[in-house]
Point group: C4
């Protein structure tokens, strides 16, 4: 892990109550998937090139119209006001130059986040049992300027998490704030805003038609699923196992990314999250076919520790490290990376 | 291991004398096969699907006419009265919705077990040196309502077990109760009721003809053996290494299951046991081609701890966990699982 | 390791001075090859067969005319009088039913060993710088009744051994006793009896012609070498890395045995040594193509501890364990084993 | 690690301040590549041959006109006067029979080193931002008698190193001594003598034309890069990851050497460095296709401990060990080694 990120990881435990730390850092089941995430990037050794002109390193990347200073973004994570009183507004401000994917469980309103955002942002959402709730949130995100929607597909039921022998979950005053605005009259909020386990890939077209925005599917770990998503109208794929918080023993994203990228990477952007903690991890993901990577827990660690400045610190550290290692592998930009740069074992 | 099972595993050591605990938990030789059993399920990582309609999860399964609430059963294990005074009767009552495979070393009579049973049950047996003993037991099991016979094929001699430097074995007043009733006059009980190392696959047809019941062969670890069993008339296969109690260094069932299932799974049901301790293990076995799984030691842990309620607790916990993870992989029923869901490493 | 062998291993350290224990137990270099020897047998998992008639287990084996109760023998190891005052005579007496391969570094005379031997014995030797020395020893072994000669080919120079920071070597009054008798007049004993690094496979034919005995080559780890040996007239091959005492990092015999056996096993017997410590190890070697196995250090442990009775104890324990596990894999004799019984990993 | 080298490694920590020890022993990033270097040689097991005539072992090797007593040399490492007051002069004197590759960061002048050198020496260099600086150094090296130039290609930027939480770097009065002589009037020394990240393979031909010397490229880890270097005029390749000091997670040289050697080994000499600590490591490298190997840190350990005598001690120990293990694998010279001698795992 990059030294700066490690510092945030350590400071974070002083900054938030244990219950919040457990919620953020924990995973489902025996945490096998969680535990394997970062190590899985290390399974790839690097095969750098020598004597290439790397006097200028250019990390600028465009993803579905979003111009980024580096191929980095904030993975959708909930409850930012529990990590820091400024919540998603601080994250939005800090993530300058990076993509901010706002969680369905954001605790501040899209319009306020948009106003605070220093760069492009997208909205992550679920298909809720009450479709009107999702439709309303999606339309409001679009109206507020979201550049795309990210439909999470791996959560028909919420994964079971426990730490130190007790179940871990969180609630907040702001839970599903952007969805609850659209509850139909008389609907039971608890039921209506629950993820609908009957949701299918049809939701991709529905959301696209509803908002005119590109819709990515998040949670994809299989090449055949990625192809099915694209066939269903997905404008992009986010390779993710939900930070090890849904299906335990799910494959590491570092392992399956190349298969997904090989399947659909020429048609749509492929993003990835899961245990990315250094410029070397980012470079590895890019060489394996990712268009950009999303950072989850480190953003929350830094947000809790130092607000917007912390979030900015995470992206500054990762960008800087990425530029350095791009140079060392002989790549002047992510476009110079390819599959031959990484090898298993 | 699922939390509830772990609790039984721990409580069990307080509930029974060390000698019984060693007998139940121990394995043969250096316990290499025993020790590898559970870990072998973890060698398979999962590749879930996203956005499938999993609003209804149906785990019902029928195996050779036995209707089960979930593809779960009690593996044949001996001496239940040593674990709990209610013995096999408690197990039968607790295993509601699951299949109960009654051991040849059951310490209660088939008729009593049948009366206590809340669902289907089968009888496991050996070919004894005195064939009349096996024939009598098989016929009595059939008469009492056993749905099938399970012929254990991996025990021509009993595996050598030792813990803490001393041999481990058990005897009980009820040893081979259902067999001793059929001792011919003048036979030496010790010899007559010993497993016959001369037994061959011919016994499958003999037992089928004798009882009209389907006969499964248990202890199969090879595709060629599975095909030979089916050719010899076996109605099903139980992939098993006898809980690591017979041949040490025998392959893990989690490793060989897919080969056996590929060989005969389209013709006969393939069951499996060995180190299955969570819904994820069950799901993995099903994805690898098992029709149902059998649970050994955890049933005894729970039986010793809490009688029939404990046994019921094991199956409730496993069923519930299985339903949850079926949802998370995008499968509405075991039929939605396939080999592509699991991958080695 | 089989319990009885472990007991000898432990008792041995009380029975001999540390310097002798280090000499016997040590290996060359960093002891990588030594340390990997036993574990390499465990890399093979077993795939037993069910319901075979194993009521009679027959382990009798004939190797180049030597009739053995089981496919077991004493690997050539030196200086038995340093382990026990009765030396090779005790080993010969104890190894009843097993093959005794007498080391070039035996400390007693061939004729005396032959008189004490309870079964067949062979003589291991090196080509010394002074050929007359080797010729004399070979002819004397033949005259004393050796059934074959075992020419060790992996020792052009003696491997460098160190333990606890100091070099390990041994000398004894009886060093090269059977060779020194044949020193030409005026020869420098130290030079004349040194292994000749110029020796080649031509020595096989030379020794065969000289004695009329079959000559095996010991130390072979490659299929091409095994073929070259047979082409040069070798009557058999001993797959060995000299107990990890010569080339450190040499391949484990458990790893290369199947390749050597596949190359020449249909033409000549293939023996193997190296870390064999249980009936399961023996069975694995046989399934991989060995005709018989040789036991090194355990014989010395038992000899030091309990003389001839100890040596007999080693072979009794291994034979008994081999019979047991043959039954458990469904093999009535070594001939029922085949390559399909073992699988890597 | 060979015992003699280990002794130098330990004594070295008493001989130099912690800051210098950290600089010499440290690596970049998380030191993954550094840590894997030596272990990677151990991934190769050896398959020796028996009964070859190895009575005469000849390790003499010629590399691009340099006659060496054994295929060994000093890898380019900087700042020898910080390790020992006699600096590169002592190294040159001690490395008799071995090749001395003088670092660009040498702290003594080429002419003085040449005068002290007991054998052939080459000059390692970088393309600096100010080309005149590199040109001047190269020409001066040629004039002083360097037999070849080694152009390091893996350092467009200097790898980031940290130990115990603080950055590690060194400066010395003699930094880039042989380059600073050639600074154009008015040039900023700090900028002019920095490695130029714009350098490309064109520099190979430039340096060749400038000096008439053969130019090797150092830092190559890929077969395609090696071919590109040779096509660009390189007279040889040094497989290296810069001692784990540049790109962390770069492949181990022991892993990629066979690929590079297969690609260009028939056209040009292939040298290798990285974690070589024993004759077995050297032998493995030669069997994998290396023409010679370079030794880095052990030379500095020995230099710091015992000056020229220490350096001589390193090469004496490695040469002697190499001769011994050549004999044990049945090779009378490096030419008798081939790819079949080593196998992964």
């Amino acid at each position: 892990m990059l030294a700066q990120l490690r510092e945030y990881a350590e400071a974070f435990h002083d900054a938030v109550p244990a219950e919040i730390a457990d919620y953020i850092d924990g995973g489902s089941g025996a945490e096998a998937t969680l535990g394997a995430a970062s190590a899985a990037w290390l399974q790839w050794t690097l095969l750098p090139r020598v004597l290439r002109d790397v006097s200028t390193i250019d990390t600028r990347t465009t993803v579905l119209g979003a111009d980024l200073a580096a191929p980095l973004g904030v993975a959708p994570t909930g409850f930012h006001t529990l990590a820091h009183p400024d919540g998603e507004l601080a994250t939005a401000a800090g993530a300058a130059g990076a993509l901010f994917v706002v969680s369905a469980r954001a605790t501040q309103r899209y319009a306020d986040i948009a106003a605070a955002a220093a760069g492009p942002w997208w909205a992550q959402l679920y298909v809720m049992r009450e479709r009107a709730v999702t439709a309303g949130a999606a339309q409001q995100a679009a109206a507020a300027g979201a550049g795309a929607l990210v439909l999470t597909g791996d959560t028909p039921y919420v994964g079971r998490k426990a730490r130190q022998g007790r179940p871990v979950s969180l609630a907040s005053d702001g839970t599903l704030l952007n969805f609850r605005d659209h509850l139909p009259a008389g609907a039971d909020p608890a039921v209506a805003t629950e993820q609908d386990p009957a949701a299918t890939l049809d939701a991709v077209r529905w959301l696209t038609d509803l908002t005119g925005l590109p819709v990515l599917v998040k949670g994809v770990l299989r090449a055949d699923d990625a192809r099915a998503c694209v066939a269903a109208g997905a404008a992009g794929i986010v390779v993710s196992n939900h930070g090890g918080r849904q299906l335990d023993r799910a494959a590491a994203t570092a392992t399956v990314l190349p298969e997904v990228a090989a399947a659909v990477g020429e048609q749509v952007p492929v993003l990835v999250d899961g245990g990315i903690r250094s410029g070397l991890d980012v470079l590895t993901a890019l060489a394996l076919g990712a268009t950009a990577v999303l950072i989850g827990r480190p953003v929350l660690w830094a947000l809790a520790t130092d607000g917007a400045a912390g979030v900015a610190g995470v992206f500054a550290a990762l960008s800087d490290d990425l530029r350095h290692v791009l140079g060392l592998v002989g790549a002047a930009s992510p476009a110079d990376l390819d599959r031959s740069m990484v090898r298993r074992g």
